[in-house]
């Protein structure tokens, strides 16, 4: 089993997120980190406030989009940036506790705001060795 990892993949106009992880939970957590990295260095985020997020969708791919869109919504409306993600599943129901802080423009030097997670090049899969991988393009 591999450690969770994420990367940004090439997309002409926007940014693709990709992650690999040993479990569905850690996969979604890594995608949360990849999302923050679009805006700033996740390591620069202080864990000062927490909130809970709940999503439910008919399949894993839609659930991933819902999860990322929930984070995007909270980032936009609370002016927050997240640095910790703890995800639990009950089937296709997701319960998460995320931690972070209010965006500090001087310290985070935020690059770009994220408009939404798209269904383009979207996938959530488990391979034969049991590892999970996902990708999603976000519009910036």
């Amino acid at each position: 089993m591999q450690n969770p990892s994420w990367s940004h993949i090439e997309h002409d106009a926007d940014i693709g997120l990709r992650a690999r992880a040993p479990s569905r939970e850690s996969l979604f957590e890594a995608m949360g980190e990849a999302l923050t990295a679009v805006v700033t260095d996740p390591a620069s985020v202080r864990l000062e406030r927490q909130l809970d997020i709940h999503c439910e969708a008919p399949d894993d791919a839609l659930l991933l989009v819902d999860w990322l869109n929930a984070l995007i919504y909270e980032m936009a409306t609370r002016r927050m940036i997240f640095g910790s993600w703890r995800v639990k599943f009950d089937g296709h129901k997701l319960d998460a506790r995320v931690e972070g802080e209010t965006v500090d423009r001087a310290r985070h030097r935020p690059v770009v705001e994220i408009k939404g997670a798209t269904y383009t090049a979207l996938s959530v899969e488990q391979d034969s060795s049991g590892n999970w991988q996902a990708q999603c393009v976000v519009d910036v």
Binding site: A13, V103, V111, V112, E113, K115, G116, T120, L122
Partner: protein, 476 residues
């Protein structure tokens, strides 16, 4: 892009011929070199659009087309409601009614030059820009609904501008049939602190110099002469539009089966125009369009205030305001018959030619101004709609340079500080909260806007009127 999959119509038009499940052909505008450089994803996404029901005529990709989500950026497609046509939230995208507004200033370069740095600082301080910025305007629920119904007209009524501004705004600043009740509370909440904000990414406010005039007669009709200073504002419907897109993409993707729609890409999420969901989306999207128009109107007001303090002789009047992420009901002649169509333009600009009854009298003899945003270093264009564009692409033209490089590639290749310094050496002042953001928007990360508009002109999509060079750029 692989040329073998295309049929060449003429020097600047390439066709994806109808095969298998395709309902209509696809037409891509570009010369051979541009087509070769174009991402294969444009082919794939344009072909996917041809699979949707109720299409009328070909679907088009403009010369600045690149890989988008659902539709390619630069995509144009028209649907007939009576022929089971659809409206697609993916075909409009998240940034509903993103567009460009250009203002005259009645100043010349010589008048601007002594204060340009100070003016850049004033604009950067007055206009909220970038992640985490907030506007000063807070709307109650009733005011929010009034703004969503009234657009730029509402903003002018609130004192953010003058009624003459509306004469030169698409739809006179207000899209009819908006339904604030179809906009979720989440979308309205996301907008609460974002009225009059510019956003980030490729959004900007630029002070520009008219560097070159190509068509003196049309330029005169538009009020442009060489060395004039103008201001261009590029932004959209902010958080409200983004959330409307998010909400309806999901709902349409989940409902597709109920409508018997087989989506080749979930991002093409759509619903029949005449369905309750389709009508609800149209009402919400029109509210999003009004939000974008109100937003650009408020930013215009803030811009005027900054100019007034430093350049009291300036008079900021409207050249035009036109959107490039929309679905609008328009009448077009298809095979000799006039039809009412739902025209989606995703990263494509409406370009009505001379004689269009939709243009105000002052523009009717010359055609609609088509405002093309370039990159920070390479400049922008004012084009004019042509009569020929009606048959070429439902009166549509390109919208910008189009990216040639991903953001990831750009930030590996460029450094924000170097770009700002390099542009400063050329007399271009940049103000931005993010160095990495500037690197991702590096001029070389975009296609050559000159080539894009050349092809748009040669393909009769629009006519070149003037080229604008950046002097000051406020970047999110």
């Amino acid at each position: 892009m692989d040329l073998n999959r295309l049929e060449r119509i003429d020097e600047y038009r390439w066709q994806i011929p109808v095969d298998g499940p395709m309902n209509v052909p696809g037409v891509i505008f570009g010369d051979q070199e541009q087509i070769l450089q174009m991402d294969d994803k444009v082919y794939e996404q344009l072909r996917n659009v041809t699979l949707l029901p109720g299409l009328v005529g070909p679907v088009y990709a403009m010369p600045d087309a690149h890989w988008g989500y659902g539709f390619p950026i630069g995509g144009v497609a028209a649907f007939d409601a009576e022929a089971d046509g659809v409206v697609s939230a993916g075909g409009v995208g998240f940034d509903i009614s993103c567009g460009v507004r250009t203002l005259h200033t009645k100043l010349t370069t010589a008048q601007l030059e002594p204060v340009k740095s100070e003016l850049a600082d004033a604009l950067y301080a007055d206009i909220p820009v970038g992640v985490g910025s907030e506007g000063a305007i807070r709307l109650s629920n009733a005011q929010m609904d009034a703004m969503l119904c009234g657009g730029a007209r509402w903003a002018v009524e609130q004192g953010y501008g003058v009624s003459e501004d509306l004469d030169r705004t698409e739809e006179r600043g207000c899209i009819a049939d908006a339904k604030p009740e179809a906009v979720s509370d989440r979308a309205k909440k996301r907008q609460r602190r974002e009225m009059g904000t510019l956003g980030s990414g490729n959004h900007y406010l630029e002070i520009q110099r008219v560097a070159e005039v190509f068509d003196v007669a049309i330029a005169a009709a538009y009020g442009l002469t060489a060395d004039d200073i103008v201001v261009s504002i590029h932004c959209g419907s902010r958080g409200l539009g983004h959330q409307i897109g998010t909400d309806y993409l999901r709902e349409m993707a989940l409902a597709a089966g109920e409508f018997g729609l087989e989506l080749p890409d979930r991002e093409l999420a759509c619903a029949p125009i005449l369905s309750t969901l389709g009508q609800r989306y149209l009402g919400a999207m029109r509210a999003g369009m009004n939000c974008a128009l109100a937003n650009r109107q408020i930013i215009t007001h803030l811009t005027r205030q900054a100019f007034e303090r430093l350049l009291p002789d300036a008079r900021l009047t409207m050249l035009y305001d036109v959107s490039h992420n929309i679905c609008k009901v328009e009448r077009h002649v298809i095979e000799g018959e006039e039809k009412e169509l739902y025209v989606h333009r995703k990263g494509a600009t409406r370009a009505f030619g001379p004689g269009s009854p939709d243009l105000e009298p002052g523009l009717r003899s010359v055609g609609q101004p088509v405002l093309i945003g370039g990159s920070m270093g390479t400049g922008s264009y004012v084009l004019a709609g042509t009569v020929e564009s009606e048959t070429a692409a439902l009166s549509s033209a390109c919208h910008g340079a189009g990216r040639s490089m991903s953001r990831r590639q750009a930030r590996r290749q460029f450094h924000g500080r170097q770009i700002v310094d390099g542009l400063a050496d050329r007399g271009i002042v940049i103000r931005s909260p993010s160095s990495r953001g500037v690197a991702e928007e590096a001029p070389l990360a975009y296609k050559d806007v000159n080539r894009v508009v050349d092809i748009a002109e040669r393909a009769h999509l629009s006519r070149k009127v003037a080229r604008l060079e950046p002097v000051v750029c406020i970047k999110g």
